[in-house]
């Protein structure tokens, strides 16, 4: 029943926020150069099961996703393999340029411990009230399912809705006559 609920929650006026991601500001710390964030976030790459986002020096990852306008975040989907997929995921809103050293300095907006179900594609519903006014999202992946050396993520999708704000990039200068 909860599964049905979450799938209907996705359908109910929640859109995939892929179009609202500000790609120029997307960053990922500790990613391997051959397996980068685009493999998990971008349309087409994330559906491909052979393309993963992989961590480099150790198993943690810090992903920063800014948006082109203010959004409300409802749920996220993180797909990965059963052993090397992420386990503990912490989400921070509106904090720019975080580093691994200050992830523990303030409490996350939400924490999710992923189950194998989630890794297969079941969305994780978030505390909606905490994600009402999101300009940027930082995803901190603390460890993975089997505590292996590297963490592999196949897809990250964000579901939510937009607040009616102006997209500053879309503003064009009016020609003076």
């Amino acid at each position: 029943m909860s599964a049905a609920e979450s799938t209907t929650a996705i359908q109910r006026s929640q859109v995939d926020l892929l179009d609202f991601i500000d790609w120029s500001g997307v960053e990922c710390l500790n990613q391997s150069s051959s397996h980068s964030l685009s493999n998990a976030l971008k349309q087409g790459y994330r559906e491909d099961e052979g393309l993963n986002l992989e961590s480099d020096a150790d198993e943690q990852l810090l992903i920063y996703v800014p948006f082109t306008q203010v959004i409300k975040l409802h749920a996220i989907v993180i797909k990965g393999s059963e052993e090397e997929g992420p386990k503990t995921v912490k989400l921070f809103t509106n904090k720019e340029h975080m580093g691994f050293s200050n992830v523990n300095d303030f409490p996350p907006s939400d924490t999710a411990v992923l189950s194998p179900d989630n890794l297969k594609g079941r969305p994780v519903v978030l505390k909606y009230v905490k994600f009402q006014n999101v300009r940027s999202l930082t995803i901190f992946i603390e460890d993975n399912q089997s505590d292996s050396e590297t963490t592999k993520i196949q897809m990250i999708a964000l579901y939510g809705s937009t607040v009616e704000t102006t997209d500053m990039k879309g503003l064009k200068k009016i020609e003076e006559h």
Binding site: N30, S33, D56, A57, D58, Q60, H97, G99, F100
Partner: protein
């Protein structure tokens, strides 16, 4: 033109008193630091550079990342040598300083001068390297000075742990006549991964070359004075062409040299008028006077002018005493044409740029 914040870690331990790098290890290091700061700020005006010392009483940050070159040069003054270098602490403090940089869009880079022996073990250095890689900090290592066993190995291991897509480098500089800064100038540490600072490096190299032996043709730097260098080169090529043609005609002219002296002198007149065709009336008169001599003679005259560098040399030396004695008008013409021919070598180069027609 990469936007970068750099922290330079200087080794000011006792080992830096050694004079195997001129004038002393520490001074060579200071020169290198100055050059690096200049290169970084020049390649991108928004770049910042900071400096810290690793030895002495402890790791001390002299200046936090700034784009003010004056501040950086000033802080290098009055540094004291002493103590032992603490590489691990130095790198960690540098990382912290970079974390708190003002412009978060800058890439982070640490440049370490490792001159004294390293007391840390390979494992801990590798851990530090991995931590730097995790936080996407690039590391450049300058290995100079002391060379005890294991030092190179440890530094290579550190580099391997940090290196991400060849953004980090290591340079080994051995003692010798070459200054530390000169050796560094050709490395990627200075040239910024193949772009940006290379302009600065080239200018510095040119200045160094000019200061020492002038490696340029004619002793003139084409960068400083392109027109003069061009003029010198053109006149050199013309002289060379003239001499080559003269050498070619030498064999042909063997028989023609037996002609009479007067014909020689008159043909030499004609050749001088050829040279002096700046359009003086005297030259024109001369040509009219010689019109009865025929084209054949004129051809001979031309051949004569190509013949024997000695005669063309004479033309420029203006030595025609016997001819001048015969004919005062001729003497005047000779003088004028000689003046014109000396002007020619410079005016010919002017002609190329001004397009004056003969």
């Amino acid at each position: 033109m990469v936007l970068e914040a750099t922290m330079i870690c200087i080794d000011n331990s006792e080992w830096m008193r050694n004079g195997d790098y001129s004038p002393s290890r520490f001074q060579a290091q200071a020169d290198a630091v100055n050059l690096i700061c200049g290169a970084k700020t020049q390649s991108n005006p928004e770049n910042t550079v900071g400096v810290l010392t690793m030895a002495g009483k402890g790791v001390r940050v002299l200046v936090t990342p700034t784009s003010d070159l004056g501040k950086i040069l000033a802080c290098m003054h009055g540094l004291e040598i002493g103590g032992e270098m603490n590489l691990a602490a130095g790198i960690q403090v540098a990382q912290l300083a970079l974390k708190h940089r003002q412009n978060k869009k800058q890439q982070q880079r640490i440049i370490v001068f490792a001159g004294s022996p390293i007391k840390h073990d390979k494992k801990s250095l590798e851990m530090i390297g991995r931590k730097l890689k995790k936080n996407s900090v690039a590391l450049d290592i300058v290995n100079f000075g002391e060379d005890d066993e294991g030092k190179m190995e440890k530094l290579e291991a550190l580099l391997a742990a940090v290196n991400n897509n060849d953004t980090s480098h290591i340079v080994h500089v051995s003692a010798g006549p070459n200054a530390l800064s000169d050796v560094l100038m050709s490395t990627p540490i200075f040239t910024g991964d193949g772009e940006g600072g290379s302009g600065f490096a080239a200018a510095a190299a040119a200045a160094a070359a000019a200061g020492g032996v002038s490696g340029f043709e004619f002793g003139v730097d084409p960068n400083l004075d392109p027109e003069l260098a061009l003029a010198l080169r053109v006149s050199m090529e013309e002289e060379r062409a003239r001499q080559e043609a003269a050498a070619k005609k030498a064999a042909e002219e063997a028989s023609k040299q037996e002609k009479g002296g007067e014909e020689q002198s008159s043909s030499q007149e004609a050749t001088m008028t050829e040279h002096a065709s700046g359009g003086t009336s005297e030259a024109d008169n001369k040509k009219n006077d010689l019109s009865d001599d025929d084209n054949a003679l004129l051809q001979q005259a031309l051949a004569m002018s190509m013949d024997e560098p000695a005669s063309s040399h004479d033309l420029q030396d203006m030595e025609m005493p016997d001819v001048a004695a015969d004919d005062p008008e001729l003497a005047l013409a000779l003088q004028l044409s000689v003046q014109d021919s000396t002007k020619d070598s410079s005016s010919q180069t002017d002609m190329t740029s001004w397009g004056r027609s003969k």
